[in-house]
């Protein structure tokens, strides 16, 4: 995210919005050699030498995260075939790149873009393909359906930005608390979460330095799922708590180690090999459990009861270089 832009490498920027279909009302889109089309139920993607079909709700939930997170850290797999690799300034759009069968058969395809170009066309696609009443960030039981022909827009929902505190939520001039009045009511699954705030006594002159807030209450009022937002910052150490319900819409193949502190309830994680997609482990995380996701895997989580998860990231801009030189650890602690 806050990483240096590497020198130009001839990454392409040819993207275009195509005409809308008389049948469905949806526009088609092109990014380099990739062509994207949607119909009532599916996103259909074609590239030189291949094609792929995804359920439209799955596709929209995935591209929503990719857009909102600025291509995030490392690999964002929309599913086992399609996805993006963030090079921080440039981005690879791929099909089959992290799928053993596609790789072995030589059928994988990838194209590298200037990030702003691919981001622009992804945003156009997300906006055009998301109908009124459907919110790709919401839990499925809290929003409308993605199906059907073109029916209005939900632009406000798809233009949400990741919330990033600069020091800590609730401090002066930093990210504010969520309240009923600011449009963040307590979620139906967190109706029992205490809403009391800490007792803070500040001596005059120290208002910017003495502060505390109720993180669990803040999370109970999140209107989105699977969307880590920064709540506290120590250098490059970012606490990114999030509320989780249903399924993480992407398989995240991080380029670095990340950590999970489960704050409430339970998440099941499926862990697969980053390169091949072969299953490696299942992790059951309950309140108080701490675990890392190694840098050579992809992970996807499931949460029936809406849960609170603290995702812990190291946003260091030097990590991509260390990774490229093979000097970044795959596992953070050896014992």
């Amino acid at each position: 995210m806050s990483s240096p832009v590497p020198a130009p490498t001839g990454a392409r920027s040819d993207v275009e919005v195509l005409a809308s279909s008389n049948d469905t009302g949806y526009r088609s889109f092109r990014a380099g050699g990739f062509h994207f089309q949607r119909d009532a139920y599916f996103a259909r993607v074609e590239w030189p030498g291949g094609r792929h079909v995804m359920q439209i709700d799955v596709f929209l939930r995935a591209i929503m995260r990719d857009v909102s997170w600025g291509f995030f850290y490392g690999v964002v797999n929309f599913d086992g075939v399609l996805g993006t690799i963030n090079h921080y300034g440039e981005v690879t759009l791929f099909a089959g790149r992290f799928n053993e069968a596609y790789r072995d058969a030589g059928r994988d395809h990838e194209e590298r873009f200037q990030s702003p170009a691919l981001m622009a066309i992804f945003k156009e696609m997300l906006n055009d393909w998301t109908n009124e009443g459907y919110d790709p960030f919401a839990a499925p039981m809290e929003t409308g359906v993605a199906w059907g022909h073109k029916n209005g827009f939900n632009t406000a929902a798809v233009e949400r930005q990741r919330v990033t505190a600069t020091r800590m939520v609730s401090l002066p001039d930093d990210t504010p608390l969520r309240t009923d009045a600011s449009g963040y009511p307590v979620n139906r699954h967190f109706a029992d979460v205490p809403q009391d705030e800490p007792n803070v006594e500040v001596e005059p002159g120290f208002e910017a330095e003495v502060g505390a807030f109720n993180l669990f209450a803040y999370l109970s009022r999140s209107d989105v799922t699977w969307n880590p937002s920064v709540c506290s910052v120590v250098g490059e150490s970012l606490f990114c708590p999030t509320s989780e319900e249903f399924v993480l819409p992407i398989e995240h193949g991080n380029d670095r180690v990340e950590w999970f502190l489960q704050l409430s309830d339970e998440i099941t994680w499926d862990v697969k090999d980053k390169e091949t997609g072969k299953p490696r482990a299942r992790v059951i995380a309950r309140a108080g459990d701490m675990c890392c996701m190694p840098a050579d895997i992809r992970h996807q989580g499931y949460s029936t009861k809406r849960s609170m998860l603290l995702v812990w990231e190291n946003a260091s801009a030097t990590i991509p270089d260390l990774i490229a030189r093979g000097e970044a650890p795959v596992v953070p602690v050896k014992f």
Partner: protein, 168 residues
């Protein structure tokens, strides 16, 4: 109404790693309440590490010593109730050099400096431990904290004792 399950020192249900084709140690899996519960009061045990950064698990019980740090730290209360006292040190760099990493423990006794304030955090509350201040914790009953900080001289590394090492 659905019940939200938070953990506590007295009541937590640990999950675990179920390997399919992997070593569970790769997931460095532990539980904050278990680690804090077994440690001495105010021992700062690392439960997560990412390069120089760590998350420490702490059991707050009674009154801690005073600490200072050259960078911000944050304390998240995971169980109980903890009072945080803050004093502005006039020369914090005498104890925690500029650019140094992690918390430093002060010599016993009240530190010299202006009182900054006092914060009481309960479960789910997060407090800033601002750089250059001296802080101490006080808890009438056993409580649990997660501290966002850097690996420093007070950080304990007990990975083999706290983490899952075999298939659960």
């Amino acid at each position: 109404m659905l019940t939200t399950r938070f953990g506590s020192l007295q009541d937590f249900q640990k999950g675990g790693v179920e390997p399919i084709d992997d070593d569970p140690k790769n997931y460095v899996f532990s539980n904050l309440f278990e680690v804090a519960g077994r440690a001495a009061p105010y021992a700062r045990t690392a439960i997560a590490k990412n390069f120089q950064y760590v998350i420490e698990a702490v059991r707050a019980e009674g009154t801690s010593g005073w600490y200072t740090c050259a960078h911000d730290e944050f304390a998240l209360c995971m169980d109980g109730e903890v009072e945080v006292h803050l004093i502005k040190l006039s020369r914090p760099e005498d104890i925690a050099e500029v650019g140094s990493e992690g918390a430093r423990r002060l010599a016993d006794g009240m530190p010299e400096g202006r009182k900054m304030g006092r914060v009481i955090i309960r479960r789910g509350h997060m407090a800033l431990l601002p750089k250059g201040s001296a802080y101490r914790f006080q808890a009438a009953h056993p409580s649990a904290l997660a501290i966002q900080t850097l690996d420093g001289p007070e950080t304990l590394h007990r990975w083999a004792d706290i983490c899952q090492t075999t298939a659960s």
